[in-house]
């Protein structure tokens, strides 16, 4: 047992820290913390900064232009970046599509698409969920039918919860290519240009007013057969492979640490009964309780990261980390909301047209309540916590 990083890992962490200290601007941090909104240009700018350093694709093999970090290095980067409120790497092209192309795509597909992901030429979004296919993703109904000439698929249907789809020019989709077999065996993986006629993107406004997700409608959309990844009707296998990549950094330890630090800062300035709130025994107990949980989870996370770095693929532990990680993050969001007292109530409504109201924020807390509501999504998306618990039970009890 040795709970500390090796000298090489410490050196790597220091390098990451120095890089972030130089590149992360106060403007970026403010936006990440919720004061303002990261624009498409902001996100592209951050990608370009990382790409110049060779750190944009931490998990890609070197031959594709990636950093080929091991699990510990990836963890160090993610944790350090979250703690200084650096923008996130938009994961759809880099973390989700690319691993599938690298494993199942053709050489032509890799040669064409991967460089465009790194350069930012393409912005990818994910077309998985449908109105009727959420937790039960395999029941998806969007169809792709090969035309008679065999040159194009014709796609019809609707995808939903498409994160940042409003910025994307490409979407990777799961589509049904065979209705007559077991659900999982009739699904294919297609790459679709968002500018193709017949595609319509409609924003969904979330309960905190943010326009981050969309519905995407397909009406007789023609997709060249070259855009099929791997084999027809094998898409479910690829999707499952992709989901294991979605699971990296699933515990969100860095986000929780940054969030907890911000709660403590808030509770030092907020006054309750003439004293800083952090000295209030009930509030202090709430903070301590979640910090104790976070310390243990951080260690759980490191145990799993170490195993992964040694080449053991995480199995059921990913599901465990997702559940515990989201519970802790949501608890911290709850504490931030509580700490702000009455000043959690104001809301910068994007929906009010032309509204440019200055919100009172004497503590510099930012929109803590809006964030609390927005992050209720953490336990719903990427396989809800109920689905994760089902997986844990199924794997461990073999039921």
């Amino acid at each position: 047992m040795d709970l500390s990083y090796s000298p090489e890992e410490v050196a790597f962490r220091d390098e990451v820290r120095a890089f972030l200290a130089e590149k992360v601007t106060p403007d970026m941090q403010d936006k990440v913390r919720g004061k303002g909104e990261l624009t498409k240009a902001d996100m592209e700018n951050w990608h370009a900064i990382l790409n110049a350093k060779g750190w944009l694709a931490p998990n890609w093999p070197k031959k594709f232009g990636g950093a080929e970090w091991n699990a510990v290095q990836k963890h160090i980067f993610e944790e350090e970046a979250a703690m200084v409120s650096a923008p996130r790497i938009v994961p759809f092209g880099l973390g989700m599509l690319a691993p599938v192309l690298q494993k199942f795509g053709s050489k032509e597909q890799c040669d064409y698409w991967l460089p465009r992901i790194l350069s930012g030429e393409d912005w990818w979004c994910q077309g998985y969920s449908e109105p009727g296919a959420g937790s039960d993703l395999a029941s998806l109904k969007t169809t792709a039918v090969l035309n008679e000439a065999g040159t194009h698929y014709v796609v019809n249907g609707q995808k939903t919860w498409t994160t940042l789809g409003q910025h994307a020019n490409m979407i990777f989709c799961l589509v049904r290519t065979d209705k007559d077999v077991k659900q999982q065996e009739g699904i294919s993986f297609l790459l679709i240009d968002m500018d193709t006629p017949g595609i319509e993107v409609r924003p969904i406004v979330l309960l905190d007013g943010t326009p981050e997700v969309n519905e995407v409608w397909f009406t007789d959309v023609e997709v060249p057969v070259e855009n099929l990844v791997g084999e027809e009707n094998k898409g479910w296998t690829y999707a499952k492979y992709l989901l294991t990549h979605e699971r990296t950094n699933i515990a969100g330890v860095g986000f929780s640490q940054a969030g907890l630090a911000s709660v403590k800062r808030l509770a030092k300035s907020e006054m309750a009964g003439g004293k800083p709130l952090i000295q209030n025994p009930h509030f202090a107990a709430r903070v301590a309780q979640v910090e104790i949980d976070l310390m243990a989870m951080s260690t759980t996370n490191m145990r799993i990261v170490s195993k992964a770095a040694a080449g053991q693929a995480p199995g059921v532990e990913s599901s465990m980390l997702k559940v515990k990680g989201t519970i802790i993050r949501q608890e911290i969001n709850d504490l931030a909301r509580r700490a702000a007292g009455a000043y959690a109530m104001p809301f910068a409504s994007e929906a009010v047209e032309g509204s440019n109201e200055m919100l009172p924020d004497p503590l510099g807390a930012g929109p803590v309540a809006a964030k609390y509501f927005n992050n209720r999504k953490l336990s719903i998306f990427g396989g809800s916590n109920e689905i994760q618990r089902g997986i844990i039970a199924k794997v461990t009890m073999g039921s």
Partner: protein, 377 residues
């Protein structure tokens, strides 16, 4: 023992429920939320005509209710429909203080309030007072025949729309003394009074109110100089009855929507409510809802009791509703899944109302501490 509503209250409940079911759907509310004023004067007038405001005042004050159970009946229905119009601020808080403390001239306003012709706000909380009712730094200084007000009031709900503000200010004592606080009726257009407004996450609007040498005549004082604290505490108790009942109504809607969704949404070939993992969690909500209803009855039923008994019950109610509210708000979203995260679905607003109720008049922790203190007394 009799837990039935009186005939009058039952009638009011039925009328209100029918009216709001017909007139206040999600699209209507979203339209109101997206408007500049954040409220509908039409709805306000129609509800006033139905007697909603009159039910919040006693007969001596010119109304036909005003007891804890009257307040609870009205606000449970307003909460069930997710009404965002500021009845609590105009009628229960500011209007109630005028009715409780005002001289004959001031009380003449109550008739106008009940008729729906007046908007009011209670400007009490300050940037560093959090939930303490007696922590008032805004100052009131006599200068000849006038009183000069200086200070800042935080998150004053309905300040922009208000014709008058009821402003608390300190005439003597240290900033957290119980004694020394007075209330003043200040016209919104008074010189030196600035109102900086903004929308609220759970609907309605509030403002930061700055008082910069605002001069009012001594006759603007409500009640005796420096003696307003007990009346403020009693009105906040009434506001907590209103708000906990409103939250109860909103939670009823959240549970109703959740039940409906669990029964109709299908995944893996069957309604998701048939999965035991979800069914049991929904059952837990129903168990806690019974606790919540009892807690609201306890609060409302002790609003007319002596101070210590009243406050101990109010704090117990607010603490329990805050805890159950968080559970119901979060679980109803989770049991729905993604759909509940969208603005256009009814639950989104309802869940925000339930959760954000804990940010007014003292949160779960505040009332737990208060309950401990009042129990030791």
């Amino acid at each position: 023992m009799n837990f039935d509503l009186t005939e009058e209250r039952q009638m009011l409940q039925d009328t209100l429920r029918r009216f709001l079911r017909d007139r206040y759907d999600t699209a209507t509310r979203n339209g109101i939320l997206n408007s500049d004023t954040g409220m509908s004067s039409e709805i306000w007038a129609e509800l006033a005509e139905l007697g909603v405001i009159g039910a919040l005042f006693t007969e001596e004050q010119g109304g036909f209710g005003g007891k804890g159970f009257d307040i609870a009946v009205v606000f449970e229905e307003l909460g069930r429909a997710g009404v965002v119009e500021p009845f609590l601020d105009t009628a229960v808080l500011a209007g109630g203080l005028i009715a409780d403390l005002g001289n004959d001239d001031q009380q003449a306003l109550v008739e106008e309030i009940i008729g729906g012709g007046l908007q009011l706000a209670f400007a009490h909380g300050e940037p560093t007072s959090r939930y303490d009712l007696t922590r008032v730094s805004t100052s009131a200084t006599e200068k000849g025949d006038e009183i000069i007000l200086n200070g800042r009031k935080a998150v004053v709900v309905n300040a922009e729309a208000a014709d008058h503000l009821v402003v608390s200010a300190r005439e003597s004592g240290a900033q957290d003394d119980v004694d020394g606080i007075s209330l003043f009726l200040v016209p919104k257009d008074a010189e030196g009074l600035t109102v900086q407004g903004y929308a609220l996450l759970a609907g309605g609007r509030a403002a930061e109110v700055t008082l910069d040498d605002v001069a009012v005549p001594a006759s603007a004082r409500l009640g005796a100089a420096g003696k307003a604290s007990p009346a403020i505490e009693a009105r906040i108790a009434a506001a907590n009855v209103a708000q906990t009942a409103e939250t109860l109504g909103a939670m009823e809607t959240a549970c109703y929507l959740t039940k409906d969704y669990l029964g109709t949404r299908k995944q893996f070939g069957r309604p998701i409510g048939t999965f035991q993992a979800l069914a049991h969690r929904f059952s837990d909500l129903l168990i806690e809802m019974e606790q919540a209803r009892s807690a609201v009855i306890l609060g409302a039923g002790h609003l007319e009791a002596d101070r210590d008994v009243r406050e101990r019950h109010i704090s117990s109610t607010k603490n329990l509703i805050g805890r159950v509210g968080r559970l119901v708000g979060e679980e109803s979203i989770q049991l729905h899944g993604g759909i509940a995260m969208t603005q256009e679905y009814e639950l989104a607003h309802i869940a925000k109302r339930i959760i954000m109720a804990d940010h007014r008049f003292g949160d779960v922790d505040h009332h737990l501490e208060r309950f401990i203190a009042l129990s030791a007394a």
